[in-house]
């Protein structure tokens, strides 16, 4: 059963239609890359998936027991975060904030989850380091760990490699692949990096106002949209 299914969805941004007739679905363990030009509605779609914005028409459903709150989200970094005085552990733990229902403080359980996720992403030894003193790649790992605390079945990554150097970018991609393959976490990634998208993802969603492309990476490589967008035909 699909974790997310999207049928004939129409999305608006400030009363303008940005996407019409959007159809796609995400199954357990999938790796979906969302690509498209600026203004093609990527951010609007993310908001809709996260349940922060209603669709103007059509159905966007969660299935198989997943809800929008169960999605681990990795937003783009803000400038304020760059010099934020917080320890790595505090940041990761804040991912659990929606799980501590009707309690004021974090319990042992949340702390265990946070520590476990830090170990999975190889940042456990950074636990007491200050977030602002980490390198860009390390900061993204911390935020990934936090996202895993929020939702361990699905991660939604919003242009995660922005501002990273080539080495850190490569490392982050392989880490995301590892999370997808080894931990079985479903990945939805919004990206500008078309090459990385086709190299990593299983499915591609190419947003376009009225005729968005959705299909496997192999199908995408053969499609017209891909060649128009500047990709080299295989």
């Amino acid at each position: 059963m699909a974790l997310i299914s999207c049928k004939n969805v129409c999305l608006c941004y400030e009363n303008n239609i940005v996407i019409e007739n959007l159809n796609f679905s995400v199954t357990e363990g999938d790796y979906l890359c969302i690509v498209g030009e600026n203004g093609s509605g990527k951010s609007t779609l993310i908001k809709s998936i996260l349940g922060l914005k209603d669709t103007a028409a059509g159905h966007l459903h969660y299935g198989d027991g997943l809800t929008s709150k169960g999605v681990g989200y990795l937003p783009q970094q803000t400038t304020a975060q760059k010099d934020f005085p917080a320890s790595v552990f505090e940041v990761v733990l804040s991912g659990c904030v929606s799980h501590k229902k009707n309690r004021f403080f974090f319990g042992r359980k949340e702390k265990d989850v946070a520590e476990e996720n830090m170990k999975k992403l190889d940042i456990y030894e950074l636990k007491n380091k200050c977030y602002r003193e980490l390198s860009g790649g390390q900061q993204q790992r911390v935020l990934l760990a936090r996202a895993l605390c929020a939702g361990k079945r699905m991660l939604l990554l919003d242009e995660p490699v922005t501002g990273l150097d080539p080495v850190a970018t490569m490392e982050l991609y392989s880490l995301i692949r590892k999370i997808n393959k080894e931990l079985g976490v479903t990945i939805i990634m919004v990206s500008h990096d078309l090459h990385a998208a086709v190299a990593n993802a299983e499915h591609i969603l190419h947003l376009n106002k009225s005729d968005s492309f959705f299909g496997t990476t192999e199908e995408y490589l053969l499609s017209d949209v891909y060649s128009r967008f500047g990709g080299e035909k295989v």
Partner: protein, 598 residues
């Protein structure tokens, strides 16, 4: 310092101030962390202006300021947050709009009523010492609520401070918590303003966080460190202000600057590698800390506390100069007379220091005017319980109304333009020698009540002095009867109404009464200039320690000479050191007036 501490704990009003201050420091430090990190520092600053505007309006409308300002500031906090979120008007511009707007409304409200009075001044620069019981209770409860809510929602507040979009996506009600932070900030600013003043309160929110961010590496440590810095600076601020008689609010902020500087240096040393020389680094850090501690303790421990009040003789404390001089003439060598306003100090913006309050509490006789500019006296007399005998000069004479219309002059009843006629009584009662006689009599009675043993001595002094006053009175009468009775032009504030009324001297002044207003109406100035040149008046007057600018303008336009009239409310330090008194200053007035109206 032990002395200062003992002193503080022995005074109920200081203990209360200390408790409220610590609670406010705590809550502002906690909220400050979130505001500074969310780049909302300026909201705190903007809100303090709104709060000031609301207080000013409340004072003008005679509503309890705290209860009036609270809802208004909460609403503005809400609006500011919404405006910066929706991005229709950029955040900093929105803050500037709201804060300057509120300030303007506040200034308008004060100008149509009483002018800048001491209440407004208190809200601008703070006055922790004159808080009433209800102020203390409300502030305590509110700040406890702020602290409790902050602790309860600590994790949520961290989540939305660090990353609002993530928190929102995982189901945290971000707008709810943003509103919570805004409301708590508004509450903290309103109650903190009473203590720190509108111009300084945002320092209490911003400084501790920015300081602790220099060295702290986790959110929790930033919070704990800010709270500690805030309380430390506040308590030391009180100690310093007791010791050096400085205003509390400004002292607290200065200490915050000091701590910030220390932390800044520590950060600088910490971030340098020193070619791997850890020993050097550690040495430098230690030196910095030792240096900072020694500067702090030297300033706090050095010097002596003010001399104890001599308890054997009678002690008289007065607010302003006229009553000081009266009392000094009666008491003679048998006791101490002390004036709270130091010579040369401006009377309308005077604020009592902790020492002053103690002086009032511990003296035998306390003499004050009782007018608008001394409203704080009533607060203090209410908060200290002391068996001091008080003389309120305004209760000893027939009062005249201070007319609040542009171009005040003597035969105002025939005049047309009385738009805002307010029944505020002129507080400068001593300016007529006849009033002075009644006041001196009342002061004599109070002094005898406090020290009956020396009655004979005091009685003799009083009789001598009253004779002098009566002679002065007669000389004034002679002067007016011998003159041509030209009108008197005063290009300044005008505190000598009682004098003019008594001798039926016609006068025109640039400002109504003695408000601290500094901007004269241009029409009034034009009329005064016209009058001077038309009737060929040789002299235009200014008031000692007044503004005097209008007098200069009139003098430039007409060629009239500028001379000074003495209000005897305050005295310049030069005159004070030369031993001038009420009678000698009034004789100068007599001479100058005689020259002007001859």
């Amino acid at each position: 310092m032990i002395d200062s501490l003992n002193f503080i704990f022995s005074q109920e009003f200081l203990v209360r101030g200390l408790i409220v201050g610590i609670l406010i420091s705590l809550s502002s430090a906690l909220l400050g962390v979130s505001l500074v990190l969310k780049r909302f520092s300026m909201i705190g600053d903007g809100l303090s202006h709104v709060s000031f505007g609301a207080m000013a309006v409340a004072c003008a409308a005679n509503i309890a300021p705290l209860y009036f300002a609270l809802p208004i500031v909460v609403v503005s906090a809400f609006l500011l947050l919404r405006m910066s979120e929706s991005g229709k008007i950029k955040g900093d511009a929105a803050i500037a709009l709201i804060s300057t707007g509120a300030l303007a409304v506040g200034i308008m409200a004060t100008s149509v009523t009483t002018g800048m009075n001491i209440d407004i001044y208190n809200y601008m620069f703070g006055s922790i010492l004159t808080m009433t019981d209800s102020d203390v209770i409300v502030s305590t409860v509110l700040s406890l609520i702020v602290i409790a809510l902050f602790v309860i929602f600590y994790n949520e507040i961290f989540a939305i401070t660090f990353d609002e979009s993530f928190a929102k996506a995982t189901g945290t009600k971000t707008s709810l918590y943003n509103t919570l932070i805004a409301v708590l900030t508004a509450v903290t600013i309103v109650i903190g303003m009473r203590m720190m003043g509108a111009l300084l309160i945002s320092a209490l929110i911003i400084f501790p966080t920015v300081t602790s961010m220099r060295v702290c590496k986790s959110f929790r440590s930033v919070i704990i460190c800010s709270a500690a810095i805030s309380v430390f600076c506040f308590v030391s601020g009180i100690l310093f202000s007791v010791k050096y008689e400085t205003p509390t609010g400004a002292t607290v902020v200065c200490l915050n600057i000091f701590v910030f500087a220390v932390f800044f240096v520590i950060r600088m040393i910490n971030s340098k590698a020193f070619y791997g020389n850890k020993l050097l680094k550690r040495a430098l850090l230690t030196i910095t800390c030792i240096l900072a501690c020694s500067v702090y303790s030297v300033v706090l421990f050095a010097g002596t506390n003010a001399a104890e009040i001599n308890s054997s003789n009678i002690s008289v404390v007065t607010t302003a100069f006229a009553q000081y001089d009266f009392a000094r003439n009666i008491v003679g060598d048998e006791g101490e007379v002390e004036m709270l306003l130091t010579p040369g100090e401006e009377s309308h913006t005077y604020e009592p220091t902790p020492k002053d309050i103690l002086k009032i509490k511990d003296c035998d006789v306390f003499i004050y005017g009782g007018g608008e500019s001394e409203k704080w006296v009533d607060n203090i007399l209410e908060t200290i319980d002391s068996d001091v005998i008080t003389v309120k000069m305004m209760e000893e004479v027939n009062l005249r109304e201070e007319i609040h219309s542009e171009e005040t002059h003597s035969d105002s009843h025939s005049h047309e333009n009385h738009e805002h006629h307010e029944s505020v009584y002129d507080e400068h009662v001593w300016t007529s020698p006849a009033n002075a006689v009644s006041i001196v009599q009342a002061i004599y009675e109070a002094i005898v009540q406090a020290d009956p043993e020396n009655n004979e001595y005091y009685k003799q002094n009083t009789e001598l002095y009253i004779n002098e006053l009566k002679k002065l009175d007669i000389d004034f009468y002679k002067m007016t009867s011998e003159s041509k009775q030209k009108p008197v032009i005063i290009g300044d504030r005008f505190p000598l109404g009682y004098l003019m009324d008594r001798y039926k001297i016609e006068y025109y002044s640039a400002f109504p009464g003695c408000s601290a207003q500094t901007e004269a109406n241009p029409v009034t100035i034009a009329e005064l200039i016209y009058r001077v040149s038309y009737t060929q008046i040789p002299v235009v007057f200014k008031i000692d320690l007044g503004v005097g600018k209008v007098a200069d303008i009139i003098s430039e336009e007409t060629g009239a000479e500028v001379r000074t009239l003495y209000s005897c409310h305050v005295i310049s330090s030069e005159d004070f050191n030369n031993g001038e008194g009420y009678i000698s200053l009034m004789r100068r007035n007599l001479e100058n007036l005689a020259y002007a109206i001859k």
